[in-house]
Symmetry: D3
Subunit: 313 residues, 6 copies
């Protein structure tokens, strides 16, 4: 069902070759295997706690309205809930960030690569042929993306030949996901071109070489990005600091607490601006019971306003 | 005299808890000790060479007009005078810089943290109680800040749990110092929120965790930032490169030399623009005695103009 | 023929001294030797493959119109041709980049420094005197720059005292090269001042100290920048990722392929925007022979248009 | 069939607890999941090129006599054959090496860990219960080891809480494998105790904390160590430089070439010791055809001797 | 009371000068201030929990027999007790270790240096003169060492000019402490000479320059080594992995647990050697209640034997 | 005059090929150019201050008896004299050291490599052919080594393909120099084999790949190793810390001062052992004039003894 264009991997250099009319010369790309099995049923089993619908590929589908609300989230707000729930390994940082002022939000679509071994690759290929199916490539993965997805790729930190996309594929990802975003524990190329495309991206490095010397070993399987085990369908939230991968079952709680935190900040700044209090008299908990009471009422009123504003007319 | 709000340290996560109404649940914060004694008299003794007034807390008070003039200083100009005087350890770099285009100038207000030891902490606390005083916290330190201060914090390069402020406390620092600034050999959190607040900041890293696993061991004592011994009241000057800590007694000389350097740059660029000279004929010392004379006259005239402009009417 | 102004090296600190009227006090600078011989004839021999004219100093002169066309090049496009030709060591990265959005293009003017040895320096100086010539300094090098040059300096990654220019010399380089650019495997100073001058620059670090403890050992000799052997006259192309040094004989081919790549990108994006195809059906090679044909015609037409537009009227 | 002793993971600290009689207090360990499926059939399929027998668990069994011959191999000899065959990703280095003078040889037994996610872990556990089987732990993995194995563990470079063994488990691994060896992209603990046990080990770091905050996600599945995809049953060869993972089908060729290289070294050193030749006249290829002939005869004779010596009487 | 020999700091280079008869030429050393006050009473207050005697300088004196028992401790055994007690910041690693096979044990004698500031130094000096006392130097600190001490020095990781001792001073430290040991967050010099002296040492780097450009700011005050707050009198335990600083009040418990751990290891290895059990059946807790009972009896008997052996006859 | 054996560069891998009888298949090696001219006269001019004889190739020849005396030198003793003379850049460290307990001493034989450029290489080759001479290779350099030399190689820190020798070439270097030694700012291969050969070596890394992708650009020219400009004929002294490159004209003075330093150490340790003095009373300068006098007499007597012992009978 899926067309293979392994060639696509080597983008620019291939384009160069292509332009010169040497299509036939293209060596078969080195990125073809899906080594690990993680079936749609496996995926559904291992994400059974999620309370929402699912995407056709089996991933949890955090609803669109929650995805939109998540656009205002900051890392700190996510941290607060996750550590209370015992999820201490959901944050990755140390990335270069393409658009520091533009937060990234979306559902994780995961891809895994491993270092190339010709023997494993050959067998994967003949296994595929034996079943009459075509092998998966990074471009097929890109063709599978859905609106609202963030492409999350484990390229084990590889810089040279670890470039998941150049500006062309980045453009396709942007179109397919509706500017969802990209997280790659690896590199990108064509940074000049990519800088003109409006989609957030988190990457380790930039290099002019095309992807190579690797094999695609899994699509929508559990992967590791830094110290995080990322599950397909996790809500990905990226800000100026780093990226959080929120299990779907915790999304609602994170967002509701964030509402209260926003209101708390509003109120304490407002009080401080009145000039009557020292910071420590208001923040984080007002010492005066009367002020505490005032805050609680403010909180209640503002929460109601927010909910009203959000409810469909 | 001072109110304790240890809770303030864990800002966001605390706020989350707070919002949920669990005020009583808050564990007493782990940041409370002032281990080192450095009395107001010590401070005055060790900064005895400073020629200006003092702040109520004993710190040297570089006058406001000199602070303002220092806003135009570049690291290189500070370096020139300091190395002549034998001060080779007054510069720190390697920071992430919040506002590269906006220089930071102010008087150093120093704070020191050390790794938490429960036994030391317990004793510090009971010592405080024994004297009927309250223990110092990072928020009390913030409440002590004066207009024109820069908050300088030794958190020994700690990233996780080494976040001196989030956006709320950063906002209070901004208000209290009049956008003075922050230097922390440690980290900050809420970078998104902080980016919207107009104050310069120099820090090592960003992390979503609140401050923790440390104890406050001194306020306005000598501290170390990188390779610099910072004294309370030092004039802090930060630009796109790094941060200089200028002993008060050298401030006037640095500023006067900077005036001459600015005039020298003005003149050499003007001469070069005339198109009659090679760079090496003008810069840094003109080879032609006639040009030297011309420069000396230009320098004299411009210095007079500048001084006139600065003198109060 | 050349005037020595060794003093110029210590820029700001010297300026400070100068302003204070202590010209006579200036110690003779420590940067004076040209240790390596690489004659104009050597230079012409080792770049004999270049097909263009030469600059008066013997360097290949890539024509101005090609330099202009190169302004649109991205690293990836250069990579494609160079690796086909077996040039695998022409790319350097890991720089701090002054103006990420403004590409750098120009002809390499190379300068080499080595760590100071007083004995070698003394002999180089007396050798020079014996021949009745003056010694070369970094400022003489700057006076030798031509419009269209990029100054490329090997300072072996030195940070402290490895500052090739401050804002004054950077200004002269900008004027002399017509905003050509600077690449230094070393550092710069006066970043605040330099940020206001409109010229691209690639450097390893920023430091307030003036250049020192080094000796100038060669001008327009082959030098090493990262993993690249740079020849005088190489076409230097810098973008947001890093810097390519293109041997003159390969410039034309790189540019022509880049034209085809630009057209290819144009066409695939246009087709994708039609909404009729999956990315893998168009990119990089269309799978449908009819589409391939369509592309080939589009390519031919667009190439003709471009060439027409470029041809002098 | 397998007994769970999750407790075993926290070795020393647990032992401490145990000794104090607090067995009941032990929290269930956090290391229990096998997330990825890679069946015995998968394993046999993906290693189908191997020419030898198999171990009961399906791994290729490089014969004992070849394992013994491999004890003399150096990294360089492996490199020569592997790169000829297009296997460029079989070498990992950057390890701390327990016994630099004692080479490591054996068959890869692979184990994979990922960062802990409580939701994934819970489901893995209930899945296991549902099937009436027990969950795998690192100690069960250790109990599965065979004589001649090298335990190869992906702990994603984790230092704190990434300690695969302390001295007790290291002792068991030594006993079970017959001093086969350990490679861990992670850390170990009890280095003092381990130093007294006679088995080679390659690790990234040493730390006193027990393993934790991770989940076991696979046993004898393909794993990644540095830039290598390691397959179960690969011949692991470690020397003073690093570790090679040799696909079984290439073992024989590597060993036969190594024989010739050893003889070549023998002969060139012998010739050089005669004092009649410059190194370049003998090494690597003698320039004199007569010497070439002499060498070829020497090679033939020595190979025969070696083979004779090896053949069973 | 104390003699100043600032000159001693520059050891070798000074010695060179000395030998040449240029004693008078010696510039006054730059290491003289004690900036921080931490009185004997402060020290006793902040270590009030320790249950033992004190040294004349006020430091807790862990008894000699416990110091001797601690010689068998491994980092892991210390970790187990300390984390139970909530002391998570007592371990430092990343050192170069002079004698990996020889554990270090002793009482912490702490020294702190900070980057030199001529103004602070001058005032410290005149303060000292005003009181008729001499200033402290690193050599005076060395003269204050007691048998059983480990010299622990904060030189803030300084390499060049951060060399606390050369072979002569290292020899004196060895003599004064009875081969106690040295931990320096800084460097040493004369590694060749030091390698011949039988005392453990932990340091960051080696450099030929003498100590300089720093000032001694405290002796036997709380200092920071890596992530540890070290108190004077802490029991310092160094093995092949790193260094633990054990608060005196926890020493007894650590040692008693270590006894049980040693016995536990003895027993499990003995059982495993019987060949009747899988590792997981014995370690860490035997699954069979009968084996548990057997172990408990073994433990009891062995503990008695050990205690008997230790008790004075 | 010189024979080319480019093949030699790829040592082991070539050997592997060779053994398989594929001599003809060998691609011409990529290491052939001598780009920089530094004639014998240049060499003699730039080392004119050296007071000794010269080797036939023009390098200064520090006499054998001084080379022998230098075997006892430690880095610190060299540092003392060199910094007095204003030579601050003669020390390099950060190497892996093959034989930490065995000091290295010898005369520098320098070799420089740069990253390969096919165009420069081609021209160098045809230039060589035009003059009827053969191109230099790393093995020719090795054949030029003299007894007492240390091979010093600039491979710009290259690890992969930056391996100057494997065990065979290391063996030849050992034979040719009489175990002189090797310093390479690059890597080596065959560490197992090299470990069995008795010669000191200082290198950055170890890798199994043969040297490649570089060109030899100079033999016995000034080169850079770390922060040092090394001149051919410098006395190279390596100990456990790093490597000093001593200009020949300073060797005698360094050695004479070292004699005095050794005597000084002898005396102070002897006095300290008497138990009558505190370290600060003896070291570095005795405070008591009587002790000073005693030391001066001891020094005089011991110097005479040493000189007597050294003088030829």
């Amino acid at each position: 069902m899926m067309t293979i264009l392994n060639n696509s991997l080597a983008s620019r250099s291939i384009k160069a070759a292509l332009c010169a009319g040497v299509i036939a010369l293209l060596a078969p790309s080195s990125i073809r295997a899906q080594l690990f099995t993680f079936s749609k049923q496996d995926l559904m089993d291992y994400t059974a706690q999620e309370p929402f619908d699912r995407l056709p590929d089996g991933r949890p589908k955090v609803p669109n309205d929650l995805v939109e609300r998540a656009r205002e989230l900051a890392s700190e707000e996510v941290w607060a809930v996750l550590q209370q729930k015992g999820f201490n390994n959901q944050y990755a940082d140390g990335f270069k960030i393409l658009r520091p002022g533009k937060n990234m939000v979306g559902r994780a679509f995961t891809v895994q690569f491993m270092p190339l071994r010709p023997d494993v690759e050959d067998i994967a290929e003949s296994k595929a042929k034996g079943k009459g199916v075509l092998r998966l490539t990074n471009q097929t993965a890109i063709d599978m993306l859905q609106p609202g997805d963030v492409l999350v790729v484990d390229l084990f930190g590889k810089k040279v030949n670890g470039t998941i996309v150049g500006d062309n594929l980045f453009y396709y990802v942007m179109k397919a996901t509706g500017s969802g975003g990209l997280v790659v524990d690896g590199s990108i190329r064509d940074l000049d071109g990519i800088s003109e495309i409006d989609m957030p991206a988190y990457f380790r490095a930039v290099d002019p070489t095309p992807i190579g010397n690797v094999m695609l070993t899994g699509i929508n399987i559990p992967i590791r990005i830094g110290g995080v085990t990322v599950m397909p369908g996790d809500l990905v939230v990226g800000d100026r600091e780093g990226v959080y991968f929120i299990p779907p079952q915790l999304v609602k709680e994170v967002l509701d607490q964030a509402d209260e935190i926003h209101i708390h900040d509003e109120w304490t700044k407002k009080k401080f601006a009145e000039g009557k209090y020292k910071s420590s008299e208001i923040y984080s908990t007002p010492s005066d019971p009367k002020l505490q009471q005032e805050y609680r009422e403010y909180l209640k009123r503002r929460l109601e306003e927010i909910r009203k504003k959000r409810s469909p007319k």
